[in-house]
């Protein structure tokens, strides 16, 4: 077997710990991820007692070979994209740690927890105000978007 690159080594370690001790409501598709370490599918359940209780979401993580120096590309995929002021209807997420505030000390697990908490603290289910314009004009890769972070409260 060829020697693993540093990014593969790190992804392998993250995958193992995420499968062993997943945060509540979060499950990673381990088979798919171990076949292709650069593309992960993570299933997420709406936290009981929040607006998203009982809903199921699917997140996709794409990694480059520069990971963790390069942030992962994270989007919601599938039929159920959460209705949230920071989530566009094409699945793109406006979250600073996914671009400007990314740090290699963050991980798939910490990104998942941030998204869970972003959803859980939502007070009103609605799309971002610029949703229709953004979805029409944006790049396929959310990391190419110059985000204007709306607020820090949600």
């Amino acid at each position: 077997m060829a020697a693993m690159s540093p990014s593969e080594r790190r992804l392998q370690k993250e995958l193992m710990s995420l499968m062993k001790e997943p945060p509540p409501g979060v499950t990673v598709d381990g088979d798919q991820a171990s076949q292709n370490l650069t593309l992960w599918t993570v299933h997420m359940e709406g936290v009981p007692g929040t607006l998203y209780e009982g809903e199921k979401f699917v997140l996709q993580f794409k990694f480059t070979n520069k990971y963790p120096f390069d942030s992962p590309e994270v989007t919601f995929i599938g039929n159920n994209i959460p209705i949230h002021p920071h989530v566009y209807s094409n699945g793109h997420i406006c979250l600073s740690i996914l671009t400007d505030d990314w740090s290699p000390a963050l991980s798939v697990q910490s990104v998942c927890l941030s998204i869970v908490s972003m959803l859980s603290s939502c007070k009103e289910k609605k799309r971002p105000p610029d949703n229709s314009f953004y979805v029409k004009t944006c790049n396929k890769n959310p990391k190419k978007t110059k985000w204007w972070y709306h607020d820090d409260s949600v």
Binding site: R10, K13, A105
Partner: protein, 308 residues
């Protein structure tokens, strides 16, 4: 040897015979590849009888280990391989930068003589390393041996002192691992007064004004012991960036490079440097020292490309 009891028929018998012949051929081959000549066996016998060195065989008769003792009863090891008559290749010498490594010798006596001469010349070197190992808490290397010519001494939980020892037993390339103003100022002032007539441990104690060496708390020591026991498994200190303990391409364990006492995340120097340079737009920093924020606690942090 041959199992010929009740050969039920001729086929079973011939199969047994075939197996036996095959296994015997294998046996013959492995014996042959193990053989060494009589001359060297006689030589080894002499050495063992006169007792000036220990001779041990490894997996085969061709893998030979030689152990000699110095005046202080420290044991020193050397490994060689028998390549043919009068062809003995030194594979490992447990001494720093030994010139014997990878050399071929004609007989074992020559090897022992050269080895002993080397060991005698390194007497001061052994003494200094041994003295450091006994007086200080050594953070690196994890399993200290005379083959490693450096020690990293615990000063506090963020700061270690790196000392290298020359074959003559003199300290060199002394510097701090971790950035601490307090230790740094003392070191800068003290290095000018280094007294080569005194041993390294005494010099370090004078520089930092110590009556005894600082020791990690029992918890830290436990953690460190676990690191030693399980060098690359889950319990060892991992780098906050690559999540590994050992790097495939570079030697060295993760270090306490962040000076924020409530952070406590270790990084490989190369990982942290790569991140800080990437944050600064991938421009190589002036003097090889990158600045930025700690990836974990975001406090200001500096990191030099090379280990000083």
């Amino acid at each position: 040897m041959m199992k010929t009891e009740d050969p039920k028929d001729l086929i079973t018998f011939s199969e047994n015979l075939k197996d036996l012949l095959q296994s015997n051929t294998k046996l013959m081959q492995s014996v042959e590849s193990d053989l060494i000549d009589v001359e060297i066996l006689d030589e080894i016998k002499d050495i063992v009888i006169y007792g000036n060195a220990g001779v041990y065989f490894g997996k085969t008769l061709r893998d030979i280990k030689i152990v000699i003792e110095d005046d202080e009863l420290r044991k020193h090891e050397l490994y060689l391989q028998y390549k043919g008559p009068k062809k003995l290749l030194i594979t490992t010498v447990k001494l720093p930068r030994s010139s014997m490594h990878n050399q071929e010798y004609g007989c074992i006596k020559d090897i022992i003589e050269t080895f002993r001469q080397n060991v005698i010349e390194l007497a001061r070197y052994f003494y200094e390393l041994e003295n450091m190992d006994q007086s200080c808490t050594i953070m690196e290397p994890v399993n200290q041996s005379f083959k490693d010519d450096y020690r990293r001494i615990f000063l506090d939980d963020r700061t270690w002192l790196h000392v290298e020892v020359t074959p003559e037993g003199l300290a060199t390339n002394i510097h701090l691992v971790g950035v601490s103003e307090q230790w740094h100022n003392k070191l800068q002032a003290g290095l000018l007064n280094w007294d080569h007539d005194k041993n390294i441990v005494d010099n370090i104690m004078t520089i930092f004004d110590l009556s005894q060496f600082p020791q990690p708390s029992s918890k830290q020591l436990d953690q460190h012991k676990m690191d030693i026991e399980e060098n690359s498994t889950e319990n060892s200190v991992v780098c906050g960036i690559c999540l590994c303990s050992d790097l495939p391409d570079a030697s060295g364990l993760p270090l306490p490079l962040c000076q924020n006492p409530s952070c406590g995340v270790y990084y490989h120097r190369s990982c942290l440097y790569q991140w800080l340079v990437a944050c600064a737009g991938n421009r190589p920093p002036a003097f090889g020292v990158a600045n930025g924020g700690c990836p974990t606690c975001l406090q200001p942090i500096t990191c030099s490309e090379k280990d000083n």
